[in-house]
């Protein structure tokens, strides 16, 4: 047994483009993470509700619809409300650099744009994990 990295992969919004989310979910699986895949059309409330029940370490949210400036802040606020502000949020999708800067200022850990090799978020997550995770004594 022992601790595994648990990560929620969510795709909010009304568009049906989940290919990117599926690719990243599979890459995370191959990296040895436990990936909770929620599917399409998730609201921030559904995402945070699932994250709390699944006790994930990281929320990975893909936004292609242009609604990132409403979705990410809402997710961060809800996490705080549910006493889960320690969960780490990262994002992907089509997000202009200046918006990405703003989101990271609000507390999003990292934003990965289109064409990012899947090794990048995986390395990022492993680094974050090493820095933030205290090994549980068993």
């Amino acid at each position: 047994m022992g601790k595994k990295i648990r990560i929620l992969v969510a795709k909010p919004g009304l568009d049906g483009h989940d290919r990117g989310a599926k690719i990243i979910a599979t890459a995370f699986r191959d990296a040895g993470f436990e990936v909770i895949y929620t599917g399409l059309h998730q609201t921030p409330e559904m995402i945070v509700d699932a994250a709390v029940q699944e006790d994930v370490d990281i929320l990975s949210i893909s936004v292609l619809s242009g609604a990132h400036m409403t979705i990410f802040p809402r997710v961060l606020a809800l996490l705080k409300e549910k006493g889960a502000a320690d969960m780490h949020v990262i994002g992907g999708g089509i997000i202009p650099d200046e918006d990405a800067e703003k989101l990271m200022g609000m507390g999003v850990g990292a934003i990965f744009g289109p064409g990012t090799p899947t090794t990048e978020p995986i390395d990022y997550i492993r680094d974050w994990w090493m820095k933030h995770h205290q090994e549980q004594d068993s």
């Binding site: 047994m1 595994k4 699986r29 436990e34 559904m46 509700d49 549980q136 068993s138």
Partner: protein, 333 residues
């Protein structure tokens, strides 16, 4: 190892705090307790010890069947039904872990659109983490966490199973086996294993070709087996179209009937539960003994030191195992 062991005392305190938060209905505490139990931490063990007396009252239903049979969909519809009855429902959905990477895709939530803001429903995905019996090694303990949190019903969804992954039977009071019209012919349903484990059969996707034929096959097999299971429970066969919620009411009724039958004979119910708990204790003890002995005799290091010679056929694995065992016997006197 004494009471003054600070790490142990810290784990106890953390477990106590977790149990308090759980008693106050804090959902994050439920989730964190399950993680501790899943990861096999010391906090998790203390926690289970603390809440054990609060467990044993929930009704536990196992839902099993081959991949793609519709388990998640049925669990979702059943959970909604039970919620409408005012029952608090916990769901444990198990998916397989990759033997290659150790990772997993837990995708059962896709078919379980969670009713946001409903405190009476809690859905948790679990990776099998190498256990091959259709559930995770810690699914039983996870269900105890949910029971301690006051859920009336626990629905346990297995990984997609083949013919012999039956561990869910040990966890559940009632086991529901889902099949689809293409699931097989008369001989398949006569085979040993999973077909014998079902308390209730569901033929899902009944709008497809062959559903009636499969029901006939199952019923014939049940007659041939003379179904002389204790007390004479004869598993019913329910045609269902889960995506349209058709036939799920009947499944709910049959689960109720089975539970009533189970508890109709108090002595039998107590014996069945006692036997299951005894087998559970054996599993726990065996696991603890193996882990303990493995560490105490430095078996991992010794195996790594010797595996090259074994692979090169210089030492036989049988002799090596014998040697380890002899050393162990000597050590324990």
């Amino acid at each position: 190892m004494t009471a003054a062991d600070p790490a142990r005392e810290r784990a106890r305190q953390e477990a106590r705090a977790l149990a308090d938060r759980l008693a106050h209905g804090e959902r994050r505490a439920i989730a964190q307790a399950i993680s501790h139990v899943e990861d096999g931490t010391r906090v998790g063990r203390h926690f289970l010890d603390l809440v054990y007396e609060r467990t044993g009252r929930a009704r536990r239903v196992g839902i099993t069947g081959p991949p793609g049979a519709g388990k998640s969909t049925l669990v979702h519809v059943l959970a909604c039904l039970l919620r409408r009855e005012g029952m608090r429902v916990g769901v444990l959905a198990v998916d397989p872990t990759s033997p290659f990477s150790g990772g997993a895709i837990l995708g059962d939530r896709v078919r379980m659109p969670s009713a946001t803001g409903d405190d009476g429903l809690f859905v948790r995905s679990m990776a099998a983490r190498g256990n091959l019996g259709g559930v995770a090694a810690t699914t039983y303990e996870a269900s105890e966490v949910l029971e301690a949190a006051g859920f009336d019903w626990i629905l346990i969804e297995t990984v997609g199973v083949g013919q012999s992954e039956l561990e869910v039977v040990e966890l559940a009071d009632t086991t529901v086996l889902l099949l689809v019209p293409e699931s097989g012919d008369a001989v398949q349903v006569m085979k040993a294993g999973i077909m014998e484990a079902a308390d209730i059969f569901v033929v899902n996707k009944f709008d497809r070709e062959g559903g009636d034929r499969l029901i006939t096959h199952i019923e014939t097999a049940l007659q041939l087996a003379d179904w002389n299971r204790e007390g004479g429970w004869r598993p019913p066969v329910c045609p269902v179209i889960a995506t349209r919620e058709e036939g799920v009411d009947e499944v709910r009724q049959e689960i109720g009937r089975h539970l009533a039958w189970l508890s109709g004979d108090r002595e039998r119910l107590q014996r069945v539960r006692r036997d299951k708990i005894e087998r559970r204790v054996r599993v726990l003890l065996r696991r603890a003994l193996v882990e303990g002995a493995w560490a105490m005799a430095h078996i991992e290091e010794r195996l790594q030191a010797e595996i090259g010679r074994i692979a090169a056929r210089e030492v036989s694995p049988y002799r090596w195992v014998e040697k380890i065992l002899r050393g162990w016997r000597y050590r324990t006197g």
